[in-house]
C-alpha cells in the first residue's frame, strides 16, 4: 500500500498532468458558457413540463392548447392596446415584427412574447410528429447509408440486415410512444449534439490525453530518471510494474471522475434539465438534425447519460491498458506518447482501406478508436458502421480481453527481460 501511495504521489506532483487537468476543466467551462446564450429560453419548457408533464397524449395536448390560447388572448389584449392589432398565432405576430419589438413592448411583455413563441414552436412540433414518423423509413435510411459509403455485396447486405433488425425496434419505439415526449427542441438548441457529440467527445479526448500521459509517465518513471537499476533490484523488484498498473488505473479513474464531475456539474447547473431526466432519449424533440436519435433500447435521458458515462469509464480503462502495453515496451514516456498517436491514426485510417464489398470493412468500427468518435450515437442507430445492436458491448468485451491477455504477456515478458 505504501508503495502505491508513493507511486500515486509521483502523478499528483507532476506539473504537466495537474496543469493539463486544470486547463481542460477551464476549456470545458468556456465551451459550456459559450453555448449557454439560450439557457433562459430552456426554462419555458421546464415550466410547461411542470404544468402538463412531458408525455404527449390527447388530454395533455388539449390542456396545452387551451393554455396556449389563453396566453394568446392575454397577448392580444396588449397588442390591441399598443398597436390595435390581433393575432391568431405567434408566427403571424413575428411576421409583423422583424425588428423593433423592444421599442413597443416593455420587459415583462417581451417575456410573454418569447414564452408564447416558444410554446407555439413546441405545439407545432407536436402536431408534426405523426406525419414525420409515418414517413420515416428505416430501410430507406439503410440504403442511403449504403450509398453514402458506396458499399456493395456482403457489406451492403450486412447493413441491410442490421437495419432490418433495427426496424423492429423502431416499430416498438413508435408503439411505446417514446417519440411522443416533450424535450428541449433539438432543431433549435441542439443540446444532444452540444452535450453528447461535442462536450463528451472533448471530455473523452481530454481523458485519453491524461490517461496516456499518466500511464506512460508512471510506467517509465524509473527509466526516464535512470533509477531502474535501483528500483527493480529492491525486494519489490519487477513486481513494481503491477503496482504501477494499479496506480495508473486508479489515477485514470480519478482524472476521469474529476473531469466528468466538474464538467457535467457545470453543464447541468447552466442547462436546467429538471423535470426532463426521465424523458426517453428517442423523443422526437431531441432530433437536432434531419433524422431523429433512435436508441436500440427504451432509455430515458438520465439512463442514456449514465450509460454514456459508464462507457467513458470503460473506454478509459481500455486506453489505460493499451498505453500500458505500449509504454512497457517503449521505455520512454514521450516516445510512447508518439507511438500511441501513430497507432491511433492507423486504427482510424486502415479500416477505410478494406474492400467495400466485404464484411472486413466493419472490423474497423469495433475498436475503441472508432467508438470515441461518435459518443452521441452510442446505443443508437448510428449509420452504416455503428448500427449493430451490441456494437459498444462487443467492442468493449473483445478489446478488454485482448488488452487483458496482452497486459499479462507484457508483464511476464518484463519479468524475464534484461533491464
Amino acid at each position: 500500500m505504501d508503495i502505491r501511495i508513493k507511486e500515486f504521489k509521483k502523478i499528483v506532483t507532476s506539473p504537466i498532468i495537474i496543469g493539463l487537468l486544470v486547463l481542460f476543466i477551464v476549456y470545458n467551462s468556456i465551451f459550456i458558457f459559450q453555448n449557454s446564450y439560450f439557457r433562459e429560453e430552456l426554462r419555458v419548457l421546464t415550466r410547461l413540463v411542470d404544468r402538463f408533464g412531458y408525455e404527449i397524449d390527447d388530454e395533455m395536448l388539449e390542456k396545452y392548447r387551451l393554455y396556449y390560447e389563453e396566453q394568446l388572448v392575454s397577448l392580444n389584449k396588449i397588442t390591441k392596446e399598443k398597436t390595435s392589432k390581433n393575432y391568431n398565432s405567434m408566427a403571424e405576430f413575428f411576421a409583423d415584427y422583424k425588428y423593433g419589438l423592444e421599442d413597443i413592448y416593455d420587459r415583462e411583455e417581451l417575456g410573454l412574447i418569447m414564452e408564447l413563441g416558444i410554446m407555439e414552436a413546441y405545439y407545432n412540433t407536436i402536431e408534426e410528429i405523426d406525419e414525420v414518423y409515418s414517413s420515416l423509413d428505416i430501410m430507406e435510411r439503410a440504403e442511403s447509408e449504403i450509398n453514402k459509403f458506396q458499399l456493395i455485396d456482403k457489406a451492403a447486405e450486412t447493413v441491410r440486415n442490421q437495419y432490418k433488425a433495427f426496424s423492429e425496434r423502431f416499430q416498438q419505439l413508435v408503439n411505446n410512444k417514446e417519440h411522443k415526449n416533450l424535450f428541449f427542441l433539438g432543431k433549435v438548441y441542439r443540446l444532444h449534439s452540444i452535450l453528447f457529440k461535442s462536450l463528451f467527445k472533448i471530455i473523452i479526448f481530454e481523458i485519453i490525453i491524461l490517461v496516456v500521459l499518466i500511464t506512460a509517465y508512471i510506467v517509465n518513471y524509473e527509466f526516464d530518471n535512470k533509477t531502474e537499476a535501483i528500483t527493480y533490484t529492491t525486494k519489490r523488484g519487477r513486481d513494481l510494474i503491477l503496482d504501477k498498473l494499479y496506480v495508473s488505473i486508479f489515477s485514470s479513474l480519478v482524472v476521469t471522475t474529476i473531469i466528468l464531475l466538474v464538467t457535467l456539474a457545470l453543464y447541468f447547473i447552466i442547462f436546467d434539465y429538471s423535470g426532463l431526466w426521465k424523458v426517453p432519449i428517442s423523443s422526437y424533440f431531441n432530433t437536432d438534425h434531419n433524422f431523429p436519435y433512435l436508441s436500440w433500447w427504451k432509455m430515458s435521458f438520465v439512463q442514456f447519460l449514465f450509460f454514456t458515462i459508464g462507457l467513458v469509464y470503460s473506454i478509459t480503462l481500455l486506453f489505460n491498458g493499451i498505453i500500458f502495453i505500449i509504454a512497457r515496451a517503449i521505455k520512454n514516456t514521450y516516445f510512447a506518447f508518439f507511438v500511441f498517436a501513430i497507432i491511433f491514426g492507423l486504427f482510424l485510417i486502415l479500416p477505410r482501406l478494406a474492400p467495400n464489398s466485404s464484411n472486413t470493412i466493419f472490423i474497423g468500427a469495433f475498436t475503441p478508436y472508432f467508438l470515441i468518435l461518435n459518443p452521441h450515437v452510442w446505443f443508437m442507430e448510428g449509420g452504416a458502421f455503428a448500427t449493430f445492436k451490441y456494437h459498444e458491448i462487443v467492442t468493449l468485451v473483445i478489446w478488454a480481453l485482448m488488452i487483458w491477455v496482452l497486459s499479462i504477456l507484457s508483464i511476464k515478458r518484463f519479468k524475464r527481460q534484461d533491464i
Partner: protein, 291 residues
C-alpha cells in the same frame, strides 16, 4: 556464499562474458577491469537485472533468479549510473526506496536517520537533491544501497564524484562493513581497492583472468618491474623497447617505471610490483586503445 557457475552473456551476437566461474564469501572483492570489459554486465547479472545466457548464479545453493524477492531482500546495489529524483529530498528518496525494500515504516525512519548521519548528509537531508553536488548524490547512492542492511553489497564505480577525503571515508566504511557481508566493488581506479580488497577479480577477453589476493596477483610480475632515470631525449626510444608503467620528472631527468623480463642494465632498480602495475600490464592493449 555466492557462486557464479559457468556463466556466459551475450547481446545478440556480441559475446561479453564467457564461462565465468567465481565464488564469493564474506569480504571485499575488487572487480578490476577497464571500461567495456564486462564488469557492469557481470554486476547486472549478480543483481538480477540481466539474465545469463548460460550457467547459473547460486546463493547458498539456490539459483538467485528462483529466489526472487528472497534474494533481492539481502541485496544492496549502487549502479554505475546512479539516477535519482531531482525534486525529492534525500530523506524522501530513501523513504521511497525503503518502501520498495519492504522496510517497515518506523524501522525505515530510524535506519534512514542512521545512514544519513553515516554518509554525512544529516544536515541537508530535507533539501531537494537537485541542489546536491555530485559527491553528495553519490553518498545518497551509498546510503540507499545499505538501507536494508544487505548481506550482499554490490557497488559499481562507487567513488565516482567523491573528493579524496570522501574516498578515504568511504573506504574505511567499507572495510568496517565487510566483516559480515559480501562486498563486490567494481572499479577501474586501482587505488580504490588496493588497501581494502581481500581479493581482486580481473576480467580479460571475456573471461576471469585472476581471482586472488593482491599479493598473489602482484607476484605474477615479481622480478619484472624496474625503475630507472633516463634523459628526456631517450624517452621515446625507451618506451619502444619496454612497457612503461609510470613516468615522472626528477630534476632534468625522467624517472620511469617499466616492465622487463630481464635486468639488462645495472642502473635499473628492481622494485616490488603493485596492483596498478599488474593492471596496466594486463590491460596494456586496452589502455593503449583507450588512450
Amino acid at each position: 556464499m555466492l557462486i557464479v557457475t559457468n556463466v556466459s552473456k551475450s547481446y545478440g551476437k556480441l559475446s561479453v562474458l564467457e564461462n565465468i566461474d567465481i565464488e564469493f564469501s564474506n569480504g571485499v572483492y575488487g572487480l578490476l577491469a577497464p571500461n567495456g570489459a564486462g564488469k557492469t554486465t557481470l554486476i547486472k547479472m549478480l543483481t538480477t537485472l540481466l539474465f545469463p545466457n548460460e550457467g547459473e548464479i547460486l546463493y547458498n545453493g539456490t539459483n538467485i533468479f528462483h529466489m526472487g524477492d528472497g534474494y533481492r531482500d539481502i541485496l544492496g546495489y549502487l549502479p554505475q549510473e546512479f539516477g535519482y529524483y531531482k525534486n525529492y529530498s534525500a530523506r524522501q528518496f530513501l523513504n521511497y526506496l525503503a518502501a520498495l525494500k519492504g522496510l517497515e515504516r518506523n524501522l525505515a525512519k530510524v535506519r534512514i536517520n542512521e545512514l544519513l548521519e553515516l554518509v554525512g548528509l544529516a544536515n541537508v537531508a530535507d533539501k531537494k537533491m537537485k541542489k546536491y553536488s555530485g559527491g553528495m548524490v553519490q553518498r545518497v547512492g551509498i546510503a540507499q544501497a545499505m538501507l536494508n542492511d544487505p548481506k550482499i553489497l554490490i557497488l559499481d564505480e562507487p567513488t565516482a564524484g567523491l573528493d579524496p577525503k570522501e574516498r578515504v571515508r568511504f573506504r574505511n566504511l567499507l572495510a568496517e562493513l565487510s566483516r559480515d557481508k559480501i562486498v563486490i566493488l567494481s572499479t577501474h581506479i586501482v587505488s580504490d581497492i588496493e588497501s581494502i580488497a581481500n581479493e581482486i577479480i580481473m576480467i580479460k577477453d571475456k573471461k576471469v583472468l585472476y581471482k586472488d589476493s593482491i599479493n598473489s596477483i602482484c607476484k605474477t610480475l615479481e622480478g619484472m618491474v624496474y625503475e630507472t632515470s633516463i634523459d628526456y631525449a631517450q624517452a621515446n626510444r625507451f618506451r619502444n623497447h619496454y612497457f612503461s608503467l609510470s613516468e615522472k620528472q626528477e630534476g632534468d631527468k625522467m624517472k620511469i617505471r617499466f616492465i622487463s623480463e630481464n635486468k639488462l642494465d645495472d642502473s635499473w632498480e628492481s622494485v616490488s610490483p603493485n596492483i596498478e602495475d599488474v593492471f596496466l600490464y594486463v590491460y596494456k592493449d586496452e589502455v593503449i586503445k583507450e588512450g
